[in-house]
Symmetry: C2
Subunit: 199 residues, 2 copies
DNA sequence: AAAGGACGTTAACAATTGTAAAGAAATTAC
DNA sequence: GTAATTTCTTTACAATTGTTAACGTCCTTT
């Protein structure tokens, strides 16, 4: 970044929160004080498998993913883009060892808070419980949609929907990562792309 | 039921809520007043595809499932048992038309509240936002675990885990419903069971 | 008791995916 | 700028699943 424009990063964050519920200036002050601005270069592992997720990360800029490791193969569970809270959410919520790794796919600008600070904030700013609830609800809905597409759609349909829905990610994310996110192998995704391009 | 033991059903409900956060008697009174006890016979459709989910249902007794319909085939998305809040959750949260049906698999005893009453309650009893947040978080975690098993495990492994984790459901739920929940056809599940029994 | 429907199994075949290996293309590192 | 690595594609083969249909069993209904 050119220079320290923490203010601008925070304003963007406030705008996102206020899409859920308006915040008074004093509430916002208490919240913004607890979040820390941080930059993480590409391929940084913010939470590693086997560790407890200490923090969640609001994405101001960049791309992250969570992945599982199965027999030395990395299988992507989700891809986070700007405006979302990235985390190994289960580990963060339950404060138990994570079975997934949170990793940046690009250089990122993040706002971060750790678990105990957040618990304090929930008490200081009750309105934050509503935000926490809505964020959890949104993540549930997201997961639900992905799961249903695994139940209802073939890998080919799933790839079509992914390209329609996130055309930008096709350009920003390596294909073998997209493949595992769709629940297939890179080889199979390559075949599917060939099949589609012939039509 | 033998007779009207609404009290007993409510106490069970209170115990479940208080596992999340203690409630004062006055908070509990406000909450319990808004929930309605209801019985629903087997195969009742509480929310139908295309409708907006008006209510959520705490399960005191019985079993429910949500299912999608794809080309006249019913595909089960989740099975709810005692102690959970059953609902077409996305439709309920967003108050949009549901793409899934909520149906009882057994005769059920339920405690129910509709969407607008719940919004009122959130305002009257702020502690309920914590419960709402934790319930959403739990549902997220649940969905996440199911999704990861679709990414990581073969159908056979998924069936093994299901039988280990919910041995009771194997007896209570027809196999073709379990099959679609696992993301496979009844024929394939039958083959898997045969393969396993040979070992 | 008989008829009908729902449920589970089995079989045969087609389609798709996984696996392993090789090579081409693109990116990254030095 | 060249080497090294990563990424993507292609091929051939094996394994699994989907599809359709037939059959037997169990349960429900009349």
């Amino acid at each position: 970044m050119e220079r320290n424009d923490t203010e601008g990063q925070l304003l963007n964050f406030r705008k996102t929160l206020e899409q859920i519920i308006p915040l008074s200036d004093s509430e916002w002050k208490m919240i913004s004080r607890k979040f820390n601005l941080m930059e993480a270069p590409k391929r940084t592992q913010l939470t590693k498998e086997g560790q407890i997720a200490t923090s969640i990360y609001f994405i101001n800029k960049g791309l992250l993913r969570i992945f599982y490791t199965k027999e030395d193969v990395e299988i992507t569970g989700f891809i986070f883009s700007e405006g979302l809270f990235a985390s190994c959410y289960e580990s963060f919520l339950l404060q138990t060892k994570s079975n997934q790794t949170l990793e940046t796919l690009e250089d990122c600008v993040l706002l971060t808070i750790d678990h105990s600070e957040l618990q304090t904030l929930y008490k200081e700013v009750p309105a934050l419980n509503i935000i926490g609830r809505v964020v959890a609800e949104q993540r549930f809905i997201n997961g639900q949609r992905i799961l249903s597409s695994h139940l209802l759609d073939s890998p080919e349909e799933r790839y079509r929907q992914f390209s329609d829905q996130y055309p930008g990610l096709l350009m920003r994310v390596p294909q073998h990562i997209i493949a595992s996110y769709l629940g297939i192998t890179p080889v199979s995704l390559s075949r599917i792309r060939k099949r589609i391009s012939r039509k």
